[in-house]
Chain length 159, copies 2
DNA sequence: CTGAAAAGTTAAGACAGATTAAATATTAAG
DNA sequence: CTTAATATTTAATCTGTCTTAACTTTTCAG
């Protein structure tokens, strides 16, 4: 049986290492893309939950709808978002990732995947198997505890 | 043998889930603490590598030293950093986390640890053991590939 | 139809953070 | 000692983001 002392110890070490690296890379990503934290947060929100309205973004970022509107406008001009009228309620706008915006999000996730993959190259096949099993278990646990963890599908539901 | 297709698939799913959650929490952390991305990045840099000069921070953030100086000034005023004269070179300043700053960093890491720990509560003891083994292997791989991944010790080197 | 509520945009003002250029203080070279 | 280089700060300016307030358009309740 693995003592819970050891367990938390391992968890903390991994988290420290992972966060240290992620922070560096993420900071560089933001500088390279010229995006601010609220902008990135909005893009991720759209990546994970799909299209939504200006007010949804504002609520998510905890800012006024005016602020969200302005920020979205800049992202639209940069070609990362698409804004269209909601056919069911013409007061509302539908905000969604543009193909370029989606690509940006995918690339930022891919960078993290690449790092993890690189780590495993220095590990034995047995350790790699262990990692697959562990991450698989963690993923399903995360989705069980918070179904919104799953990324939103890209294309429309072509029935 | 675990096929590499399966391996990358598992890696990507975990990364998506993990990043989605981290992004939400991290964004909230920044809003709650009132910090910007460059500020957080600077604080992490100091947490992981310890005290350094203004120019080091500037290089790390890829901004001018004037920008770093101004940003550090705000963080000093907020009580998160301490700035002192370098006794060996009185042109230079030594920037370090204040106790409050260190506490803030530790708390942000702790939040991530808690989330991971919470995930494991819905898993079996066997899965938990697998996770310990996997994260342990990943941590050592990360440190082997990039020794700077390890966090800097808090106290001075006594002895 | 009329008025209230809702969704978003626009405008004006404040602040953070970036840049460049100039200034200060200290160190290093000759 | 003088000059050049280094480390940081200050000033002026620009951009981005936030807020509040005012405004438009559309929806919904009577």
């Amino acid at each position: 049986m693995t003592g819970s002392f050891h367990f938390n110890d391992v968890l903390r070490q991994w988290t420290e290492v992972f966060m240290g690296r992620s922070m560096r890379d993420f900071s560089a990503f933001m500088r390279n893309s010229g995006l601010s934290m609220p902008q990135v947060s909005a893009l991720y929100r759209l990546y994970y939950r799909g299209q939504c309205g200006v007010t949804d973004i504002a609520d998510h970022l905890d800012v006024s709808s005016a602020a969200a509107s302005q920020m979205i406008e800049r992202l639209v001009q940069q070609g990362l978002l698409e804004r269209s009228e909601d056919p069911n309620d013409r007061r509302a706008k539908q905000i969604a990732l543009s193909p370029a915006g989606r690509e940006l999000m995918e690339e930022s996730i891919e960078a993290r995947v690449r790092w993890m993959a690189e780590l495993t190259t220095v590990l034995s096949p047995e350790e790699q198997d262990t990692i697959v099993a562990a991450l698989d278990a963690l993923t399903s646990a995360a989705i069980r505890l918070d179904p919104y963890s799953q990324a939103h599908e890209a294309g429309a539901a072509t029935a």
